[in-house]
Symmetry: C2
Subunit: 142 residues, 2 copies
DNA sequence: GACGAAATTGGAATAATTCTAAAGAAGGCT
DNA sequence: AGCCTTCTTTAGAATTATTCCAATTTCGTC
């Protein structure tokens, strides 16, 4: 069984839950994110999936990514007006943006800290998403 | 002494610290942010300052806002590819983006919590900026 | 196998921001 | 005061990520 096929079941399931169809395009896009988890942009995903599905269009890549975000299989990560990046890590986590290399890295976010952060909201404020982003330098960015 | 003048001293000081000049354009842009602190976009700032300096250009508004950000007088706030908003609140704080109205609100961020958040970074990671953004619904957004 | 809905496609359109080159102000120096 | 250099502003063009559009294509269902 290929890596591709391993994930396609979970994908098909989530899509079905949302009343959406599974398609080759959605599979290769999702697979591209899972295979190399370095927060690619839509353009980068496009480049990757073209090798597997040469006829795919950039518009479709955008559509598929949006669909995956809607299904909660992928998170869209925005950083200071740079192109949106996509992240298949569903655990609660923050992002660290390395100024030197421009790369983005996941930072584990303990549940109890997440709770503490949510607790700073005044009563009545109801957050259904939190985004925490660091900018700075990493040990090995020379 | 006008509100305008009250702030222009601090502005002139910070600009001088960075080797930059004070100009009428920079003053009215900064004043526009201080007078109505509702996280305006560059376009909104442009609309405000035109009443005081009719000949000002949008490019200049962008330039001035960028200058104020460089001087650490203003923070640029980005939320999911929406136009950048500008915030003259220099205290450490998070942002809450109300899904219903599209408005952005400052949320006080206690120093010790900020320290705890920074502490999740692995050794060697050096953050010089943190951005924390909530998305959700506020009590009074009907 | 035909029908209707959903998905994909290429290209045009959008919109925030940045770039560019020229004109305008401002401070320093003699 | 006058000149020189540097910084700033300006208008408009350019850029670029993303979305929109209308026309196929695909797919599940009857």
């Amino acid at each position: 069984m290929s890596t591709h096929a391993i994930h396609s079941d979970a994908l098909a399931q989530k899509l079905a839950d949302s009343g959406l169809r599974n398609t080759p395009q959605r599979e290769v896009v999702y697979d591209a994110l899972l295979t190399k988890r370095n927060h690619p942009t839509a353009d980068e995903v496009f480049a990757r999936v073209k090798t597997q599905l040469p006829g795919i269009s950039l518009a479709t890549v955008y559509n598929c990514l949006e669909t995956l975000v809607q299904c909660n299989l992928v998170r869209a990560v925005n950083f200071e007006r740079a192109p949106t990046r996509y992240c298949p890590n569903l655990h609660p986590h923050a992002h660290f943006h390395d100024e030197t290399t421009g790369t983005t890295h996941d930072i584990e976010l303990p549940e109890n800290l997440l709770a503490k952060i949510k607790a700073i909201l005044p009563p009545g404020y109801n957050a259904n998403a939190i985004e925490i982003t660091f900018r700075g330098k990493m040990p090995d960015s020379r």
